[in-house]
Symmetry: C2
């Protein structure tokens, strides 16, 4: 096998504040398209679709000053969720031609430990890119956060922030399927239109135009919020705390508004959780992948029948990676941000 060119996206250095495209480097490396001798448990893959996710920002910080104990290695390729095709396998569970999803590197070809593969993809009648979104980590996150951590009951009042994002657009649709009243917030008119007209939210808020989010939430939730699906943190959380209902739950999926701040915003209304007996619970999807089979059984029929839709924002080519990834922190993406490396 010949050496082939292998384009990569590297982290140049630890980032503080908002990441910029110049914090990332695109380089041309090479790779031998053959497993090295004795590569048990290693798989050589061709990367097809890469996922741009908010948690990746927490890996760009110096780990000594980060909420995430792990971090990227400067001058090495980023890692993240992706859909890949197996070129050669050193593990019995995978063979050439299999399509898999899991953690891979931001490059054309990767040699990865088989343990980084989350699942072999069995259902290919849906777009493969969906396995970076609705059928991948964000889908499982929405499902686990809404049904398991939030323990949302039919008919409850639900509020979702980053409501048109990779996770939020699904939480809103799951809430409607579950008979809930659901309101979402997002940061542009285009996104607010999507919330109401595409995802079926009952009401939608453009948080960038809100003078008084507390008053707006009171108007939309006269009885209070039973479940707040938390993606953003900061000022939104503070206004929500004033509007939670007795025994309310706040599954905390992420706090994207805080990831780029060198001095995070203060949340001042936490004392409200005492009298309202609110549960605020951080979770990560890794604790819930044992439910993946159950999740697919739930969501695949809805996708096939068009009862659940998924909006993706597609960037073409690894060289668009820095722009696509940096863009999600200013909300440039509309829907799930996907980076196409190759389509097959």
């Amino acid at each position: 096998m010949a050496q082939v060119k292998n384009k990569q996206v590297l982290l140049k250095h630890y980032v503080s504040g908002f990441p910029k495209e110049s914090d990332l480097n695109i380089v041309d490396s090479t790779i031998n398209l053959k497993l090295p001798e004795g590569s048990n448990d290693t798989v050589l893959v061709k990367n097809l679709y890469l996922s741009c996710d908010p948690y990746m920002r927490t890996l760009m910080s110096d780990p000594k000053a980060s909420i995430n104990p792990r971090a990227y290695v400067p001058q090495s390729p980023l890692t993240g969720y992706g859909v890949s095709k197996v070129v050669e396998s050193g593990h019995k569970d995978y063979k050439e031609g299999d399509i898999v999803w899991g953690i891979t590197n931001w490059e054309e070809y990767s040699l990865i430990p088989a343990a980084q593969i989350h699942f072999k993809i069995e259902h290919t009648d849906v777009p493969l890119s969906y396995y970076t979104g609705i059928l991948g980590m964000p889908g499982m996150t929405a499902y686990a956060g809404f049904f398991e951590v939030g323990a949302t009951k039919k008919g409850e009042n639900v509020f979702v922030s980053a409501a048109s994002g990779a996770v939020g657009q699904l939480v809103g649709q799951f809430a409607k399927l579950h008979g809930c009243y659901v309101v979402g917030s997002a940061g542009s008119k285009e996104k607010v239109d999507l919330l109401k007209n595409k995802f079926g939210y009952d009401e939608a808020i453009n948080y960038k135009e809100e003078q008084d989010l507390n008053a707006t939430l009171k108007r939309h939730f006269p009885e209070g919020i039973d479940v707040y699906f938390e993606n953003v943190g900061g000022k939104t959380l503070d206004a929500v705390l004033l509007n939670m209902r007795l025994q309310g739950r706040i599954p905390v999926c992420g706090m994207i508004s805080q990831y780029n701040l060198t001095q995070p915003e203060g949340v001042t209304n936490l004392a409200h959780i005492v009298y309202k007996r609110v549960r605020l619970q951080g979770f990560i999807v890794a604790d819930y992948y044992h439910l993946y089979g159950k999740f697919l059984e739930f969501v695949l029929p809805h996708i096939r029948e068009g009862k659940v839709v998924y909006v993706e924002d597609i960037a073409e080519g690894l060289e668009k990676g820095p722009e696509a990834l940096v863009g999600i922190f200013s909300g440039k993406n509309v829907g799930k941000q996907v980076l196409v490396v190759a389509r097959e």
Copy 2:
């Protein structure tokens, strides 16, 4: 029956900021020591011991600007937990001479709905004042918060704030009985001495002398904190969030440091609850009184054998009420603040 003098402590007006003795009035009223005709379900009691509790501050604020949806009525007596003796009963469950604990008024004699009585006191071989503390609401709060909400497992690492207070001193002792490592924080040298020498805390912190609480917690909890029993909020919570362990729990009993602030402090480190999957859960003791019988079975033998101790700070006479109540918000009390109205 003659009219008798009935001294009362009234709220003069809604309070903002730290309460002052001058926000309360002591007045001499009168009361007829006989149940009015047709007073079914009402009980006339003589108040013996009144409880000074942090939550009472939340009832002094204008309810429109408070974390507590209820509030005292200006120009009326305060209400609160107390131990009382039944003078005359209009309810079948109580009779003259019974000793009861529950919600009563800050006055010598009260006419109260029987539903405000929480429990008739059966065990009188222990000090009756204990039913405002270790055997009353604070005791149940410590028990429910530590065992139920915190779901603390044997051997876990526990941190307690307001650690010598009415609730905290019990959480520390319950933690030791449960085989935990427990560290407490309090606001004076005298209290820190109590923590180590009286209540058995493994380590004790004087938060008023801490330059860097984060570093101190890291030193005391190299593996992190499994359960933080939250009584204070604000800066302490912020430092704790940096030191929580994976799957840690924070039962939120109260946030006394915030109750008197017109602008609460911001908590900036909430994003740490995501990767560490921390559960922050507000609770109120009212949801747990069904466990009171079980709690007494657990705690009474420990009291009788001297394995659990309880430190009270006793103020004598209703006229000392304003000073005693105001004092708990600056930490003047050492141990549970009790106000004696009459000893029998």
